[in-house]
Amino acid sequence: MTESPTGATAADVRKVVKPVAQGEPILQVRGLVKHFPITQGILFQKKIGAVKAVDGVTFDLMKGETLGLVGESGCGKSTVARLLMNLESITAGSVLYKGDDLAKLSGRALKAVRRNIQMVFQDPYTSLNPRMTVADIIGEPYDIHPEVAPKGDRKRRVQELLELVGLNPEHINRYPHQFSGGQRQRIGIARGLALNPEIIIADEPVSALDVSVQAQVVNLLEKLQNELGLSYLFIAHDLSVVRHISDRVAVMYLGRIAEIGTDAQIYDHPTHPYTQALLSAVPVPNPDGREHRERIILTGDVPSPANPPSGCRFRTRCWKAQDICAEQEPLLEIRKGLSGLGAHDSACHFAEEKDIVGAA
């Protein structure tokens, strides 16, 4: 770990660009917390509470893998993305990039890290500046990191990127409105790739797209991963897309991870009641046997993250909840008595497998 909290040296920069072997952790998230203050008063603001958007999240992202992050709106998945991008300041916990704490980096070292973690946004209509041409949008990262592409070389680089994401390189001087939703998302992806990053954080990259176009973009993301050895944090609420693209999946509920494991562990052997309910609620695109499908219908809504329930956060909607759930926060760990694919980290006192038929 680097010792200099500020003033980064050239040695720090070198450390940041060191290679990581395939399958080794490239990003380690430890006890990540983000609280947004709730204030009262206009002149003399006083803090009267906090929205606990992310409240102790721990996971690793390996080199070359795709980690899917699923959960309902308000569970904090997008805040996690913003924290990893260093767009929000961390309240507590740490994000280690190749062993270096992002919060302790600054100057050139931070800039080098930021180059390597890029984001693809959800809405291709609002995430592209309508007054910039495609060349300007994709080439803008080079203004900040000129070392990646020298000035004379930029146009060629942008055209290569357009070709890489399956767009016509001749459309370099067009504006975003001249493209369809799927094409715009490709532009967003090309921008994310401009600086040859190692990690792409994709926040709902396909949910704004039409069904017939979604598959095209999912295929593109997979192709790029294979060709460029990227690591993805893939945030989405569409469970079947997440399963298709992910090597591992983390399920979030109200600022915490409820369950994490490989895709087969989470989808075929879920042990957390929330995961089970979530999977059973997904409509299955097959009408056969729909009368016999068991569906766990949760009661009520997600509690407010400003005032989450004590103990287990899911207990207010959980059919298994007992006294211990209100008293003791369940740890994210492998419970005793679970074997095979059921044996993976799950934050439930009563974690056990349950067959969810046909889900995703």
Partner: protein, 347 residues
């Protein structure tokens, strides 16, 4: 707003079980804009009977919502123009009715649930007031009685503590609760037909399951017809009796739900079903329909799907395929439906 008299037309409730409640017959709608004419609907026909659920499936721009708006009579005209066709409710063409007659049907006989409840509800009135308005305006009830009715309705759509929440404003409810209020509003006057335009698209899956369950149950109880407009193949498979798949303002395939999923007869439907990520496809490339949905101002000649279609031949570029009847209640607008049907859903 004026009060409308509450006398029902004689003989309006569904008499014969066989006659469909609503028939859309060869409907054409276009939008005349500064940039040109967008042909949003080019000959759409479907029907719904009491107690039946018709799912209209399509991507954005396929014309599924415009059809619904035309049925409701809430299409913006201009720029919208109905250039042909009939919409018969109990056998009577609604497009020929006077404004007053339409108004008696709208809300009372046919009502609509919109996608985005937050923008469909008025933010400056309490939900109780907005629900009560249905009764004061259409039924001429007193404010007090109307309010009691609203509480009853909120109970029916399972809003907890309806009595205490009746004076709350839309922003004080969660997304799922707001959608329940939309459902309550649609149900208020005991309609015979409900049009639900993407009712759960803005909701999370667990809430979506709650809302769809509620909707299906209320429909069963009241034997209502339901037109469910959606792009979600999963939701359709769960609740629909029959499906109409729309593409570029036309119905390309129409079938009972099970037959459509088992054996699609139009390349577009088949492509959609194949592009769903499935367990046994993990690690492989997803099937993707190539290209993009067409611009409605420049719909390709012949079959609108031909530039994206793996089965396309010369005839597809010149002749518009009619909706071939395959079996009763089942049709495909593809010249090569037999070939498409024979091929298994790709692995």
């Amino acid at each position: 707003m004026t009060t409308i008299d509450t006398k029902n037309k004689p003989g309006s409730p569904g008499s014969a079980a066989a006659a469909p409640l609503l028939e859309v017959d060869n409907l054409h709608v276009e939008f005349r804009t500064r940039d040109g004419v967008a042909k949003a609907i080019n000959g759409v026909s479907y029907d719904v009977s009491a107690g039946e659920t018709l799912a209209v499936l399509g991507e954005s721009g396929s014309g599924k919502s415009v059809t619904a708006q035309t049925i409701m009579g809430i299409l913006d005209m201009p720029p919208g123009h109905i250039t042909g066709g009939e919409i018969r409710f109990h056998g009577k063409d609604m497009l020929k009715m006077s404004k007053e007659e339409r108004r008696k049907i709208r809300g009372q006989k046919i009502s609509m649930i919109f996608q985005d409840a937050l923008s469909a509800l008025n933010p400056v009135y309490s939900v109780g007031f907005q629900l009560a308005e249905m009764f004061t305006v259409h039924r001429g009830m007193s404010r007090k009685d109307a309010k009691l009715k609203s509480i009853e309705l909120m109970d029916q759509v399972r809003i907890p503590a309806a009595k205490d929440r009746v004076n709350d404003y839309p922003h004080q409810f969660s997304g799922g609760m707001r959608q329940r209020i939309m459902i309550a509003m649609a149900l208020a006057l005991d309609p015979e037909l409900i049009i639900a335009d993407e009712p759960t698209t803005a909701l999370d899956v667990t809430v979506q399951a709650q809302v769809m369950d509620l909707l299906a149950e209320l429909q069963r109880e009241r034997n209502m017809g339901l037109i469910l407009i959606t792009h979600d193949l999963g939701v359709v498979a769960d609740v629909a009796d029959k499906i109409a798949v729309m593409y570029a303002g036309r119905i390309v395939e129409q079938a009972p739900v099970r037959e459509l999923y088992r054996q699609p007869t139009h390349p577009y439907t088949k492509g959609l079903l194949e592009s769903i990520p499935r367990l046994d496809h993990k690690g492989r490339e997803l099937y993707a329909i190539k290209g993009l949905p067409p611009n409605l101002m420049r719909i390709p000649s012949g079959c609108a799907f031909n530039p994206r279609c793996p089965y396309a031949q010369d005839v597809c570029r010149s002749d518009v395929p009619p909706l071939h009847e395959i079996s009763p209640g089942r049709g495909s607008a593809c010249h090569f439906w037999e070939t498409v049907m024979e091929g298994e859903v790709r692995d």
